[in-house]
Point group: C2
Chain length 483, copies 2
């Protein structure tokens, strides 16, 4: 929307002034997404969807490296299937969109638009598995799910969202637990290495478990406003679903046994995470590994004569760069270079190359980093190597900066009063002891609106005392207010 | 399902005896897909879905080469939006699945599970477009759609299927028509070059147009039983949707004008096409470019000593091949080599490499082609080049064979009686003149159950006389009974 782009660049609320308004301005202004006429559902615009495509490519490769294959299961799930696992249906029922009519007929049984696919997939696994030789089954699917939400926020909470859901079936409880933890590690490394988002891997407390799970693991990240974002989850179901769906197999020892299942998912929420972890007052900063455009070229000229020279120089740059980078050359003539700088900064392109008459004369370009605005002239001959180095450096710097922010916004507290003081002023993670009781967990939530985000896998020898009751703590946990 | 695989290999009905039964046996036996507990909906199993992933990769690259970008629009569409274009709603209404409840509340307006996305996308375009500078918009989405079907067949007709739908918006009628034809050509080249399926590109008759289209184009293929399959369509909407959704823009001349739109789609039906065009009595034959496994290695040994040597030889083969091919090495020990041959033939893997003690001695492998069963010994040193040549040759041979079959099953007819004779005995395409009247088209359909599949773009100078009324023909067309 070139005709309005000059306006939107200026209309971004400052991040420091109003984080929520800034977030919406950036999402809409950078054309990542838009509201739709369907209540609670959003449109993923091409620039936002391109980030998701890059996420899919990188994460899918990580899945496949662990033996996972993709498949696709029906969108609609008969109510009776959803009801087979008691906790599961109880957890999701209030969020289900129901199909009651097909064509002109009323259905005998209503169908849920999938809120998640355990039920339909487990039903198929019970049909497919006969013997231990059929195990493990390691299937993932990329799709969308619908969960009826009243209070929505672009990318972070919508009535429909895109995600992947992996579902595995194993011959033993140990193997299922191992897979659950393996996928947690896949998410951790993906989030940290590809999205430059530092995360804390660990367990959810029983009260925060996925409906039907024996154990839910999470990778938890801290956003730029000091609130937490659950960035992916991995669930160990033990034999709960296998029993509900009668998934049995003939084991090596000739006995018929129940299988053990897991599921694990990451959604387009993580795009919200990218925005909130890396963005600044000028807009988005997208980590190079998932940036739809890694390098944007902006030409600068005053005279027609210069224009010709600059365009020829850009042709040489194109040739030198080949397809080593995701490159965009902004030749639009109705905008000034200054506007273009603002626009591509808003869109978070990691590197900008400015090409003016002086650069033509020097057979060089001016390279500007989005993350720290460092500017340097680079000879054309060095450009490929310099861009590779710079993109790698930006990727690492974004991670380091986010990690430093998180460390500076993680506070060890010893009382609920101290915790409240931190939450209201400094904001961030509260690292504290917990006795393990539901009562203390619920009381802290009630008093502070902060929940236990994660019980980290890495625990100190002595977890100290419970922040709420003062009794001996079982574990150290991270509390935070969360998205 | 190794425990049952020995059975299913033997249970494939012969293609020549019962084409429909053969088709189902192959789809289920090769584990491409399965029935689900949801009426009319199927499960895409990993092996079938992997074909779709390869189709997506190749077709998506062809789209992007023409400037198309991907996005994602909501799954659910308010009824009022669907009603905006009169023909469109009339065409799809009988097939819509309706969501009437969200969570525990009844919705004020029911929502259609998208049968296609023109309505929701046009609504967004009307919001996004202000000026000619915003045009064209070239967006595609990969998703699933739901169309309530009573009579279903795996891959060919199901209540939910996977597809892509492209939707473009242009400043002029000419540009929209050009895009419609460009995408038709993308489909033609994709189907012929990547899926090895020869197609006839052309128009649909007015009675077979997509609801709301000014012109529908199709690429039509002939299946192995002589029935036709519409393999992709491209629709020119003129300004029909722009008027219904009030999509206007300020043109260069300062006037406000309606836009012109197109849409175009290809679905998982084409996997049915691959099966029915290339398969034989032994099962699938998958064109190398989309085969999930291009090369399967089957070891052969009798003694433990041989086994050791063969496995070492296979390690050398793996090293030589690197990741130049989609390779699978079948080391399972509970099946004989003979069973494996049958199983991988059923699964349509283009090339099999047999590795026995004699091959170890010769530093070679035995290469067997799936399409013609040609067998030859290949020295390890030549293997990469030979495989590249062989896969390219199989790809071409499959196309040539299918084209020859189609040519041999295309009959020029001059009367409906002659046409019936051909349809009942030889089967295939009927190439004949048509006067252009709805009456003749309907009468032929009534009398023969064959429809006009396509009015080919390439027309002879003199189309002769109408096959039904004997008047001067306007065009030559292809009739066929179709899926
Ligand atoms: Zn306590
Ligand atoms: Zn006629």
């Amino acid at each position: 929307m070139s005709s309005t782009s000059s306006e939107y660049v200026q209309k971004i609320t400052k991040r420091s002034e109003d984080f929520a308004a800034w977030y919406n301005d950036v999402v809409l202004g950078a054309q990542l997404a838009d509201y739709s006429p369907v209540r609670g559902m959003m449109v993923y615009r091409p620039y936002g969807y391109a980030i998701w495509e890059n996420i899919q490519k990188l994460l899918d490769a990580r899945f496949k490296a662990t033996g996972v294959v993709n498949a696709y299961f029906p969108l609609l799930i008969p109510e009776s299937l959803l009801r087979k696992e008691a906790e599961h249906v109880e957890g999701f029922n209030p969020q289900v969109a129901w199909v009651t009519h097909g064509g002109n007929e009323e259905l005998e049984e209503r169908l849920a638009v999938r809120p998640t696919s355990e039920a339909i997939i487990m039903q198929m696994y019970s049909k497919w598995v006969q013997s231990y030789r059929d195990l493990p089954i390691l299937i993932n699917q990329w799709n969308s799910v619908v969960r009826w939400e009243l209070h929505t926020r672009l990318f972070l909470r919508t009535a429909e969202f895109l995600w992947q859901e992996g579902h595995t079936l194993h011959a033993s409880a140990e193997e299922a637990t191992e897979r659950t933890l393996l996928m947690l590690e896949v998410y951790r490394s993906f989030l940290e290495e590809d999205l430059a988002i530092p995360v804390i891997p660990g367990r959810k407390t029983p009260s925060e478990r996925f409906p039907g799970a024996a154990e839910t693991y999470t990778v938890e990240a801290l956003m730029g406003d000091g609130r937490a974002l659950q960035s992916a989850t991995s669930h160990d179901f033990a034999d709960h679903f296998a029993k509900a769906f009668d998934i049995t197999f003939l084991d090596k020892d000739g006995e018929r046994k129940y299988g053990y299942t897991t599921s694990w998912g990451l959604s387009t929420r993580t795009i919200g995470g990218i925005i909130m972890v890396h963005g600044d007052d000028s807009g988005l900063i997208i980590p190079p590994k998932v940036a739809p455009i890694q390098v944007v070229v902006v030409p600068i000229w005053r005279s027609e004569e210069d224009k010709q020279k600059v365009l020829e120089h850009i042709d040489r740059i194109k040739e030198v760069l080949g397809d080593s980078f995701r490159l965009h050359i902004d030749l639009s003539e109705e905008k000034t270079p200054g506007w273009k700088f603002n626009e591509w900064e808003l869109k978070g392109v990691p590197v900008r190359l400015e090409v003016g008459p002086r650069d033509v004369a020097n057979s060089a370009v001016v390279l500007v980093r989005r993350d720290n605005r460092d500017k340097s002239q680079v000879p054309l001959n060095d450009l490929v190597v310099r861009l590779q180095q710079t993109l790698a450096d930006i990727q690492q710097s974004l991670f380091d900066r986010a990690k430093q922010f998180r460390d500076e916004h993680t506070f060890e507290c010893e009382s609920v009063a101290q915790m409240l003081e931190v939450l209201d002023n400094k904001r961030g993670f509260i690292y504290a002891g917990w006795c393990g009781s539901d009562e203390c967990e619920a009381a802290v939530k009630e008093e502070t609106r902060a929940t236990i985000r994660v019980v980290p896998l890495a625990q100190p020898e002595d977890p100290g005392t419970c922040i709420r009751c003062g009794n001996k703590a079982q574990v150290k946990v991270y509390f935070a207010r969360a998205y």
